[in-house]
Each structure stands twice: as C-alpha cells, then as structure tokens.
Amino acid sequence: MKLALRQGRLETLQFLRSRESVVFTLGFPVIMLAIFASIFGGTEIDGGVTLTQYFVTGMIATGLMTVSFQNLGIWIPIERDRGVLKRYRGTPMPKWVYFAGKVLMILGIAIAETVVLLLMSVLFFGLELPSTAARWLAFGWVSLLGITACTLLGIAISSLARTSRSGSAVVTPIALILQFTSGVFLVFTSLPGWMQSVSAIFPLKWMCQGLRYVFLPDSFAAQEPAGTWELGRIALVLGLWCVAGLALCLTTFRWTAPREG
C-alpha cells in the first residue's frame, strides 16, 4: 500500500512537471470550455437549458476521459519504448503497484480538473451545482465508473501502439471523434440516428448523459434520446466497459517493446 502511494506520488510529480501534459491534458477542456461558452453564450436549447450549460457537462466528461484514456494511451507506450516499464519489471515491485500509481495520479488530476471546470462554470457560465444528495451521489458514481472504464481502456489501448510516437496517433482521433459524436461539442439528439446508435456503444456518451442528470434541471430529461435519464442503463454500460477493459488489460498488456533482440 505504501508502495502504491509512493508510486502515485512519483507519477503525479512526473505529470505535473511535464508541460505538454499539463497544457494538453489539463488545459484542453478548460480552454475548450472558455471558447465554446464565449461563442454560444446564452443560446437556449430546450427545457430552459442554455447550450453553455449543456456543454459544461460534456466538457467535464471529456476532462475525465482525457486525464485517463488519452493520458495513459499516450504515456504508457513512451514508457514502454524508453525501457521504463522493463526497469520496473526488473525490481521486486509487484506489477499492480505500477497501475495503482497511474490510478492515483489520474484520480488526483481528475479531481483537480473537475473542480477547475466547475468553478469556471459556476462563476462565469451560469451552471448551478446539484441541489439534492441523489444528484451528488450520481456525480460520484458516474465519474468513478466513467474514469475506471477510461483508465482500463487507456491501459488496454496502450498495447496497440508499436512505438512511443504512435500512442497519440492511436488515441487522439478516437477521443476526438467520440467527443463530436457523444454529445460534447454538439447536442446529442441533434446528431443523425445512426451516429447516436454508434456512439451509444462507447462510454463517453453515457458519461455525458449521467453528468447532464447531475447538473441540468429534471425538465431536460424529456430532451434525452430515451426521454428519461436512463440511470440504470448508464451504470450498466459503464460497468460492462470496466469489465471488458479489465479483461483486455490482463490479456494484452506488454511490459517490453515488441522489437527487442
């Protein structure tokens, strides 16, 4: 346990000292939020909700995905390529400690990211914090399930990259496409039906929907694709992705680069 905390501390230190990570991972959602909110200002959708409010929930979900899925999908291949993973494997450190360190780092960064986004949104863009315990609770479990799924999938997808440089080439397009089709940049129900169906396979759509339940008025439920918040289905889909992600991690994770002597 002490090892895991040490590992988490080291990972967080590495993250915070990397300017690229801080700017692109932490800063990206903040900058996007500022841009979108300034462009669309008070444009209303329906049910008394502004586009900005809608967008904030999507940006929080995106933030969770960026710090977990993208962060790991980009950095683990780099660490593998540079022999960092192999060096860890050569010590008595239990394997799980490496992952625990990543998870602790992600949790820390995700909380910081979410707090910044919430502060911005409440102060400048008219978002109201949830008023009921049930919504705070949902905020907790949606975020936790979402980030768990994205973390596991980030670890799993890291094995697809064959070199240190291809990590971001694998991960970035996936993340960007999902952001456009899952109701982050565009209102989900305004997308073509087939696109909605495809996106509904992936976790981001459900994370956004869960966070809309947390932050938007109940009247908005009618605007959701199913006409309700579908909390049960959100938990189910995200839970299934956690299981699938874990299975992929356990079967595909590689500690050494594919082409070595």
Binding site: L3, Q14, R82, P92, G261
Partner: protein, 282 residues
C-alpha cells in the same frame, strides 16, 4: 556453487533458432564475461536468465530459482543493468534512485549509491539533461541499489569515454570484491580481459568455448609475432615459436639495437575474431 546454471537452453522465434542447446555455468562470486557477435543469441540468453523471456526447452537455474517464473524475493536478489538507457521523464537522479531503493527489502543508501557511480554532482539534474555516459551510470545505480547477489551488466560501458570506463571497471571490481557475482556482456574485448575471471563465447546460439581470457582459443600457445624495421625502412613481421632466438639473431645482424622492434602475442580480440570466423565458416 553455481549462481547460474544452464543446460540445453533452446529458443526459437518463428522459424529462426536464436539459442540452440546452450550450456553455461557461472560460479558464485566470479565475474563471467559473455562474448559473441550480434545475432548470436547473447541477448536472448541473457533475457531468459533475467526473467524477461520464456524459453522453449532446457534447464535454467539462477540463484537457485527458475527465472521463467520470477518471484519478488528473487527479483530482490538480482540486479539488472539492461542494454540501452532507460529514460525517466521529468525526474531527478536522486528521485529515481530513492524511488527504486524503496522496492528492495535491504536497499543500499541511495545517496551513497549515486556517489559510488560518480553522479553526486548530477544528483539534482533531471535525467534528460544527462549525457549518454551519465544516463548509463544512472542505470548502474538502479542495478546495484538493491544490493544484488547477482548483477547482470549488459553492455554497460557503451558511450563511456576511456576515463569513465576505467572508473567503471574499478566499481565493478569493488562490487565483486564485496561478493557480488557478475555476468557481463560486452563488445569490448579489453573490458572482458580487464574484469572477467572467465569468458564464454557464444556463436550461432551455442557456447563454443569457456576459458580464462589468457587461455581463450589457445591464445597462450599462439605464436608471437616479431616486428622490426629493415634497413630500407619497411616493416617486417615474422611469426615464430622462438622469438628470443630470432631477436638475438637480429641483434647480431644490426650490430646492437634492432630498429622498431616489437614482440606481440595475439590480443584477446584477435583470438576472438578468429574464433567467430571459424564458427561462421562451419
């Protein structure tokens, strides 16, 4: 007592045989150098011994355990200096060595280890600011911080200048004097000769000879070459079983000092290259 014992080790990748029935014994407490050209199966063998690769056949024991299923306790007794440098982003030498020390049950004092590998002045530098040789020293520090009983040094001095190499040799001798068994792989024959009690040559996936550096490939019995300069100024080489007689004959001919006189026995490198060529011709 053997630190490493290998019998009939075999490993193939696809259709290619990398290791083909290799036998090897490394005694506890010795420095053993493994030589061999690239592609001879050296790296594969070492990676199997280090617990990074699975073998197809053969018996392998390293410090009394099978490295195919390395236990944490075993990892704690084995130190690794892997081929190539590992880069840790955005961390200082001190942070990394301290962190790795925390993985071992009986780790050395990290700051003392940093000083020992000659990085004291760079302890607070981030790793990307280190030179190639300094990064290699960091690798060595990570390899020895756990006080290993057995240390693998895989081409440890690549990128070192001659002075740094000599310092490193001193460190290796020092570790060995403290009881650490060392398996060294290197492309520098002078390094093997300076450090190793015994050397083994791998060619085409087999260990073709094991011997002391002085005796490898019949080196002790190899004819020395006498070189001198003839009156016209040209160099003359003559291999002879009786160099002393030749030199006294020359001394008589020249009426005293023989110009440009040198008597050389083949270097370890000459012997090694001859062995590799013979193996390749088979």
């Amino acid at each position: 007592m053997n630190a490493i014992s290998v019998r009939g080790l075999r490993k193939t990748y696809g259709g290619t045989t990398a290791v083909d029935g290799l036998d090897l014994e490394v005694h506890a407490g010795e420095i053993f150098a493994l030589l061999g050209p690239n592609g001879a199966g050296k790296t594969t063998t070492v990676e199997i011994l280090e617990g990074f690769r699975k073998r197809d056949a053969g018996e392998v024991t390293v410090l009394g355990e099978d490295p195919a299923a390395p236990s944490a306790a075993w990892r704690g007794r084995v130190g690794l200096v892997l081929q190539g440098t590992g880069e840790f982003d955005n961390l200082t030498v001190r942070e990394i060595v301290h962190h790795f020390a925390g993985f071992y049950p009986d780790a050395d004092d990290p700051d003392a280890v940093i000083a020992r590998v000659g990085l004291a002045e760079k302890a607070r530098a981030r790793t990307h600011a280190l030179s190639g040789g300094q990064k290699r020293r960091l690798d060595v520090a990570l390899g020895i911080v756990g006080r290993p009983e057995l240390l693998f040094l895989d081409e440890p001095t690549t990128g070192f200048d001659p002075e740094a190499r000599r310092e490193f040799w001193e460190l290796v001798r020092d570790l060995n004097a403290g009881g650490t068994t060392i398996l060294l792989t290197t492309h520098y024959l002078d390094e093997a000769e300076a450090l190793a009690a015994r050397v083994g040559v791998i060619a085409a996936g087999r260990l073709v000879e094991v011997s002391t550096p002085a005796d490898l490939g019949g080196r002790q019995d190899a004819l020395p070459t006498v070189t001198w300069r003839n009156p016209a100024g040209g160099l003359v080489h003559e291999r002879t079983a009786t160099p002393t007689a030749l030199v006294s004959r020359l001394a008589g001919e020249f009426g005293g000092e023989v110009p440009g006189l040198a008597i050389n026995r083949p270097t370890l490198e000459d012997i090694y290259l001859r062995m590799i060529e013979t193996e390749a011709a088979k």
